[in-house]
């Protein structure tokens, strides 16, 4: 156990020393990784902010409440009372005659409506709830729909649904990109580690001759890969921070023009931790694949 810890510490310090000894190539690799990682994470952040923005849009969602033609006066009274409750910002009653008149004017259907023996439209309420959130709107619409005397409700939330659909595609895209760039990360790390293994060919061969196990030989390279991945993650953080600083004033100006106090939100601590953890993991993975492959080659050219 103590021997194992000593080996870990030894491998870690040797990996750190190696990184420090080649600052330029370390930096370049970290930068290549950083750029690769910043694309999916940047997109993720963008979508995150867009979702927030969608929640804050100053649109006026409306619920149309169509009454049953057979509704009793008491039912109608109860509905009107319900619509005075504080979760409703505004409610406008549209008698069926007004509705027909409006329809005739707007759709140029005067001839047809004149020919109708009876008005086919129901009485209706146009309701603006106080909430803007999609779920809450749906809940209110549902509740109103269950009131006696209400035939049907219609939630005018097309814009929200469309945006939601677009965001869903965006999120799938983020995961696809993240998968692709994880592969790129593994490749970058593997390549860097392969160069390291070849550069240390002599050391590996001599170590083997004096009793080093595969694990002993592999370990510093795995640490090297993991550290390189971590540096790549930090570099991505740098790239995104720079992009954020550049974009923030412009976005806030644009939001200001629309009278919104919207601002770009930075990633949360746990999101940063997850990204750094993943880049470390993928750096390690690339190193593992590469070391395993390259050691066989080094072995063959003894």
């Amino acid at each position: 156990m103590i021997g194992w810890l000593r080996h870990q510490k030894h491998a870690l310090t040797s990996a750190l020393r190696r990184l420090a000894r080649q600052p330029v190539s370390t930096l370049l690799t970290a930068l290549a990784m950083g750029v690769a990682i910043s694309l999916p994470s940047g997109l993720y952040l963008g979508l995150d902010n867009l979702s927030r923005l969608a929640g804050e849009l100053p649109a006026q969602p409306e619920i149309s409440v169509f009454l049953d033609p057979a509704a009793s006066g008491a039912d109608k009274q109860a509905i009107a009372t319900r619509l005075k409750r504080p979760d409703i910002a505004q409610a406008r009653f549209v008698p069926k005659d007004d509705a027909l008149a409006a329809l005739s004017v707007s759709q140029d259907l005067a001839d047809i409506s004149a020919g109708l023996a009876e008005n086919p439209l129901p009485d209706a309420w146009v309701v603006q709830p106080r909430t803007r959130s999609r779920e809450a709107l749906a809940r209110v619409a549902d509740e109103l729909g269950k009131l006696p005397g209400v035939a049907e409700t219609h939630l005018d939330s097309q814009w929200a649904e469309r945006l939601q659909a677009a965001l869903t595609i965006g999120h799938t895209g983020v995961w696809l990109l993240a998968g692709l760039f994880a592969i790129a990360l593994v490749a970058i790390s593997g390549n860097a580690i392969r160069a390291q293994v070849l550069a240390r060919r002599d050391e590996i061969q001599v170590s083997r001759l004096i009793g080093a196990t595969d694990r002993y030989i592999r370990r510093p390279f795995l640490y090297l890969g993991a550290l390189q991945g971590l540096l790549g993650g930090l570099a991505a953080g740098g790239v995104l921070a720079a992009a954020g600083t550049l974009l923030r004033p412009q976005v806030e100006r644009l939001a200001g023009l629309y009278g919104s106090a919207f601002h770009l939100a930075p990633p949360s601590t746990s999101e940063i931790a997850v990204v750094l953890g993943l880049t470390t993991l993928f750096g390690w993975l690339g190193a593992w694949l590469s070391v395993t492959r390259t050691l066989h080659q080094v072995e063959a050219t003894r």
């Binding site: 021997g3 002599d202 001759l209 004096i210 009793g211 196990t213």
Partner: protein
Amino acid sequence: MISFSQVTKRYPGGHEALNSVTLVIEQGELVFLTGHSGAGKSTLLKLIAAIERPTSGVVSVSGQNISRLSRRAVPYLRRNIGLVFQDHKLLFDRSVIENVVLPLDIAGFDRREALKRARAVIDKVGLLNREKANPVSLSGGEQQRLCIARALVSRPALLLADEPTGNLDAGYAADIMAMFRDFHQVGTTLVIATHDDRALNALGGRILHLDHGKVGEVTA
């Protein structure tokens, strides 16, 4: 401790370096391997350390059949063997002391203890004032002594030395041989390939003579 039974080693390309060698080396013995250049001395030592595998026959070391030794077991066999290589195999990317510490690092020694031991053995081979130097800056003889120090630092039960005094002047050669004798006296098994008659005469011991891959015993 070491036994060869009908061992033949043919290198890729067909050259037969050892031909049906049978021999036994007991624990604690001091054995010299002599013979012309190309006789197969290095090959014999490499077979003992599982650096090469026999083409036919059985090599056994401490009761383990080398041909059947798994890849995972080889490192542990080698940790009990001190190897002095004919071509030294030093690492030129690190200092003298780091070269000597390497076997102890591999075996998982505490760093401070390892450095202490390394310094003691470097002192023994007369390189203490070059401890921090890069091996590139050492003379041929100094590199050889460094290689010996690295082989001895882990106090192996078996020492295989390939031409350990080849590049040394008489004085250092005698010192190194005296060190080997000390190790022999505390029970280490030594197999030394050499054509250095001074060494043979100084230490006595058993002599195995190789001639074109065939072994013969010489009684001094």
